[in-house]
Point group: D2
Chain length 347, copies 4
Amino acid sequence: MNLRFGVIGTGAIGREHIKRISQTLAGAEVVAVTDVNQEAAKQVVADFKLNANVYPDDKALIAAKEVDAILVSSWGPAHEASVLAGIEAGKYIFCEKPLATTAEGARRIVDAEIKHGKRLVQVGFMRRYDYGYVKLKEAIENGAIGEPLMIHAAHRNPTVPETYSTDMAITDTLIHEIDALHWLVNDDYASVQVIYPKKTKNALPHLRDPQLVIIETKGGISITVEIFVNCRYGYDIQCEVVGEEGIVKLPEFSNIVTRKSGKLSQDILMDWKDRFIDAYDVEIQDFIDSISKTGEPKGPTSWDGYIASVTAAACVKAQESGVTEAIELDERPTFYEEGAKTNEVSA
Amino acid sequence: MNLRFGVIGTGAIGREHIKRISQTLAGAEVVAVTDVNQEAAKQVVADFKLNANVYPDDKALIAAKEVDAILVSSWGPAHEASVLAGIEAGKYIFCEKPLATTAEGARRIVDAEIKHGKRLVQVGFMRRYDYGYVKLKEAIENGAIGEPLMIHAAHRNPTVPETYSTDMAITDTLIHEIDALHWLVNDDYASVQVIYPKKTKNALPHLRDPQLVIIETKGGISITVEIFVNCRYGYDIQCEVVGEEGIVKLPEFSNIVTRKSGKLSQDILMDWKDRFIDAYDVEIQDFIDSISKTGEPKGPTSWDGYIASVTAAACVKAQESGVTEAIELDERPTFYEEGAKTNEVSA
Amino acid sequence: MNLRFGVIGTGAIGREHIKRISQTLAGAEVVAVTDVNQEAAKQVVADFKLNANVYPDDKALIAAKEVDAILVSSWGPAHEASVLAGIEAGKYIFCEKPLATTAEGARRIVDAEIKHGKRLVQVGFMRRYDYGYVKLKEAIENGAIGEPLMIHAAHRNPTVPETYSTDMAITDTLIHEIDALHWLVNDDYASVQVIYPKKTKNALPHLRDPQLVIIETKGGISITVEIFVNCRYGYDIQCEVVGEEGIVKLPEFSNIVTRKSGKLSQDILMDWKDRFIDAYDVEIQDFIDSISKTGEPKGPTSWDGYIASVTAAACVKAQESGVTEAIELDERPTFYEEGAKTNEVSA
Amino acid sequence: MNLRFGVIGTGAIGREHIKRISQTLAGAEVVAVTDVNQEAAKQVVADFKLNANVYPDDKALIAAKEVDAILVSSWGPAHEASVLAGIEAGKYIFCEKPLATTAEGARRIVDAEIKHGKRLVQVGFMRRYDYGYVKLKEAIENGAIGEPLMIHAAHRNPTVPETYSTDMAITDTLIHEIDALHWLVNDDYASVQVIYPKKTKNALPHLRDPQLVIIETKGGISITVEIFVNCRYGYDIQCEVVGEEGIVKLPEFSNIVTRKSGKLSQDILMDWKDRFIDAYDVEIQDFIDSISKTGEPKGPTSWDGYIASVTAAACVKAQESGVTEAIELDERPTFYEEGAKTNEVSA
């Protein structure tokens, strides 16, 4: 029987997920939508020929009997309330990042979920479902490189819109590395420092770009992440884990190889959506299949959302202070220990 | 509304497709199955919890009202009869290769489909849906390398079962290159020659392995394909198209890069199913979506199946004769000209 | 004590070697030069500030007491006479390819050298001194890929002068593969076939380009070599040896990797002189050092020159006949068995 | 006429240079040697069959009339005195790193050379002569990547001897990056910070390994260098320069590519001497040729040696303090402005 989704927020990313669920994935359908712009919500029903009700707001949609699971893809500041309402109603929740815009908000969700007594929430950190990251994690866990000691990562976008501000380099961009890297090495973050290299002339006046973020984990791993959102040449995600016995690195995005005009070359992606398109599919399919098989999602948890919120806040603080800032996490609740372990993607 | 499949043949590849349709793809379901081994057919219904009828034979399944489309994944020699019956019944047909085991049989299907007046049949040549091949074709059609002059290809398997015979290097292995390469360069084959290099000690006594197939197209393109099915090291598909202004080549399968013990390395796939797993998904999804949108499949046609049959027969003849053999195709019916053009996969 | 060279032929390649000996290598000097154009010979002495005599012809230069070794870089048809005169005089000889323009001529040199009783001659096949080829041979001899079964090679130039004719694809271009490939796999050639793919529009009317040469060795190895001398995009030498247990391949020429404008790229060389510049240095230094240490050169022998001449003649015959032609070599004289074995370059 | 070298210090690296000058390079010879171990000095003369005098100490060797140039390859702490004596005597000097073990010592050499009025000294920073670094610099200077903003580098050794201490990660290892990186981007260093990631179990108790060095230039470029001298897997030098419009990176060391046992791989070097062997040759040949052509060496100057000394001292201070330390250089004397510009290696 299909998992019946209610989608909260039918903007760009909401539409993508609606298309994915109704046209690409198996075992699910979209039966309800809502958006602050009701016309947009109606339009999406028409565009994708959905057999779905349009609700006036998230509360009504969450309350609807036909809705098994909600997909939260609204404006970030609205996430927390929808997720809390969803937990209250005992519905499954797939929430796009951020889970909440503050650490306190994320903690409230964690507490609500623990009180509910069963995992309901999965946060939309799709990199854990990317073939390359999955293989990196496998290699590390198989001991291929011994104990991890350092990670060198880069997150580069060709360009960003004018509304993109310096702190968004953390909250919108680095946020993906924040989730993926602690998961990769199964460690917690301890502190962070942000360095501003010489600014590119291609960034607008209000934006510091590039940035260099240096994070230390509790286990002592040193992580450097270059964030460069006006790099011009392409959308490029790099991640290299240096261990005691060897190094593993994400592959370049696979593309045909051309010999022409004195160059041996392959295309670099320009659009981030192309880079993780498979991961988005696998992520939601895993949400659907896990609930179908085990009654719980097994992807990134509310606790992972909490870690991301706390870490992002410390990173933004470090952007402003210029010094090393502590990343202070509450103790991990036992509730999430199992959850952390059961996230195994077979690729 | 879902496309309702009846599956003829529930062996290994039939089960794969049933799993794919019911658990991975959108817009379709399996409503009927049959197999010469009725127990196997019943088992697959149970295993995948299908809501599907088990029919005693292909004729009964094809006649069933609930069946919109048949998927033929039975024993090769049985394909022709099922496909002809399917056309007779006006059902959509996805037929695994070979379309027919003889050129005459493939021609009979072509004629039946033309008589029917609308495209019903798609042949399971999945490489046309592989990202790498799609990008190669795009590059060639965009003029990136000018006119194609040569293709260098290789099809390597780590090992084959004892039942694999010398002619199967053509009918089971090369058959994929036979379909993909004429499609890539939009040309027809003219002649073929087979050379037997020194035999590997890793092949069984009855098998000539490796083999070198040299094909010339009507347009004058020279194609060399190495077939090496006991290459030991991995499943490896290579394809390089040399044009007047440059060269394009399939990428290596993308895998994480490891530095360890004095080696910079990445894993090569050992299993062919992993190499084209995405292509299989895209292929069937395209069959479903095209029928839904246009009322016709747009993938590889009966005519492509006919080309493959004629070419394979000439290759086998060349294996035996040791000399260059002509590949004599009937004139392409106008019916298939449009079909050939409409196969556009966006990747 | 320095090895004192007399250089016969001060055209482009002669000048390169003179510069190499006098400005790059150790243990040698140029003490004599001659050229049919005496002014050119004098000019080279002035240009490189050589302390060298200019002789009226090769005979006078060969006879000169101060000359220990002659370097033959004159017009191809003149090589045989100079080499025979050099052997007669007991001088060491480094002869650019071809050793002789006919198989009979090469055989005469072989016989003269055998009669002389000691190795004097080295032929300028520099690929044996290229790091990549040396490593390929090492890997094959160490059993890394088991028995070699096939070789896929390509020899591509961006363009050729108007004087380049169809047979020069063999005698000037393929000649390097002819020498390198039998050396790589330690086997002799048995037969050859030449196929003409569709002609590139970038070749002049009188030239067949590209060409595909298919050679079989006595041991049964199948070799395909693409020759494409108007490939436009670069000077590109490819060589892949397929063995029973694995494959080894020449590396791409090493160049910095650039990410820019949506491309991950590295430059391909455009000029053949850059590709083997190190090999030229190592080749002549090895000639100098071997003579100094053992009294004999240990590089490619007169017999290798003979093999090249016989094979090239058969290839040209195959170009014209369109059928498979035998490559018929005399039995290898015992004199050259040791020589073949002693060619070990440490890289 | 040959440049006549006197070599001070006939240990491992001294012997390498003696061999290079006498057996590989053109235009020079070794006419004098000295070592604190006189037997070792005599042995080297015998081993390489040098026509050279053995002197009791550096002063006697420097004073010898037959000596045009001294090559200082003694124990680091002895360099300064030999170089100062060489300048005093007006001899050319090729000094292995370090030029002096203190910033003050290096400054004394700078002052002595300025007083002498002509460049005499070249410091043995061979990376500037490595093909990859030369191409990186060319690309940067041609504007291929716009203004450089960041450099990510790594210096990895498989293992180090027991005598290797934490500060030697700077003075023996990073010293090469210290010289190469400011040269690459034509900028001066401003400050440095050292981070100690989790220590590898493969390092001895007294050694901090790996280390992460973060340097900022006066122009604002952020440089991260990973130093990891027990990385086990190989000798591996990485350098990536991120600019406003693109990125350039050193190539992997070029080696044959193998497909075997499920791996696509190439060997990584294990020995640092193999990595820069060509650069060592080019470096000394350039010293010889520049003096011959212009009467002055044009490679790394005394001022570069001074920069290296000051920077290394600040890095060691930062290792100990754990905080960011300033790198305070005197103002560059006009004497060295031209020198910096004239270092152009054509590759």
